[in-house]
């Protein structure tokens, strides 16, 4: 079966690139699963989403992706993230700390939009690292 060529890039560096069998991402419309021979798609990713790249014989590659796009064409998948972090690179303690702080400021002020985004990001990072949130 054909493979997908996947690239996860952020403005400052290329996070990961390689071959995969399936890519699962979360767009603003909902989850989207991409397998080889998928029709060309350009989607907007949600803030604080988790990207899952399924590979044969290896564990899944999981990354926290904040905002950005996914573009699929000719079995090439590019994930353009504003900020992205591989699950294995996440500093769990720091993410938990960020989540606690964000939740505290949400409790203090219900309309704190920045804190809401901050909380989403922290949750995505924890989920990418395989933690329960």
């Amino acid at each position: 079966m054909a493979k997908l060529r996947v690239g996860v890039v952020s403005p400052e560096r290329e996070i990961w690139s390689g071959e995969a069998d399936m890519v699962i991402a979360k767009t603003v419309d909902g989850e989207i699963g991409i397998m080889p021979q998928h029709a060309p798609v350009l989607g907007v990713l949600v803030e604080g989403g988790v990207l899952r790249v399924k590979r044969e014989g290896e564990g899944d590659l999981v990354a926290a992706v904040h905002g950005g796009f996914i573009s699929v064409a000719d079995n090439e998948v590019s994930v353009l993230a504003e900020v992205a972090e591989l699950g294995s690179e996440v500093d769990i303690a720091a993410a938990r700390d960020a989540l606690d702080r964000a939740q505290a400021s949400i409790e203090a002020n219900q309309e704190d939009a920045d804190a809401a985004i901050e909380a989403k990001r922290a949750r995505a990072r924890l989920r990418a690292a395989g933690e329960e949130v």
Partner: protein, 300 residues
Amino acid sequence: MGAQLRLLRRRINSVKSTAKITRAQELIASSRIVKAQQRMQAALPYEREITRAVTGVVSNAASVDHPLTVAKENPAKAGVLIVTSDSGFCGGFNANVLREAEALRGLLQSRGLTVVPFVTGRKGVTWHTFRNREMGGNWVGFSRKPAYADAKEIATTLIDSFKDDNGIDEIHIVSTEFVSMLSQNVVVKRVLPLEVEETEATDTTVIPPYFEFEPTAGDVLESLLPRYVESRIFTALLQSAASEEAARRRAMKSATDNANELIRLLTQEMNQARQAEITQEISEIVGGANALADAAAGKE
């Protein structure tokens, strides 16, 4: 004579310490170019992908009207982003950028547009404040190592002003492009409104795939275009950072070379002065001895 010798020695010492400083600056700049180049390389994949995505959307959905793609009918104001450095010691780097910016200003004014400069880098900001030019925005402190957040901040300001009815109607960037260690060019690019190059599709044999959009083409474009502008600005900042270090390295290298040449000339002059002093002393001693000998001969 003694005074001249001491003066020359003092000058040589001062030139030597200057040469030491410029040499150190040159080495620092050389190591920084490499890092700046690496950052430039690292940013390439993202820029390439986002350009491809924008081309994809625009060529697929020609009907999409977005404020960022449509040229305004009666443009009145043009924003010019001028990318300069924070620190000096880099030869003609900033002067070149500012000269090009002035040329662009003249060109835009001849089209009847008011020019609003947006400036990054302390040197450019000082240049504008000294001339009492009003700036649409200025940012300092990151010219050597721009982060994406800096580019985002600049892009947000520019796009907000672009969307505003009384704001700017065009955005141009004047920055320095890094070609190689030895060559950097000042380039002027128009960022907004986007120049949709329709000829490109017919030139290339690859037909852009027909994209589906999640959720809709308009929504995708809405969030894609600002990212694209950010990416363009980020690239300009990174290229400018690398060029700044390259220009600094070259300027410091020629300063060091000049200092060494000066040291050589001064040393020569000093040796001559010392030799002249010695010769004079010898002739004085010989003269004195002769006079004494003559006087003694006269007595006998």
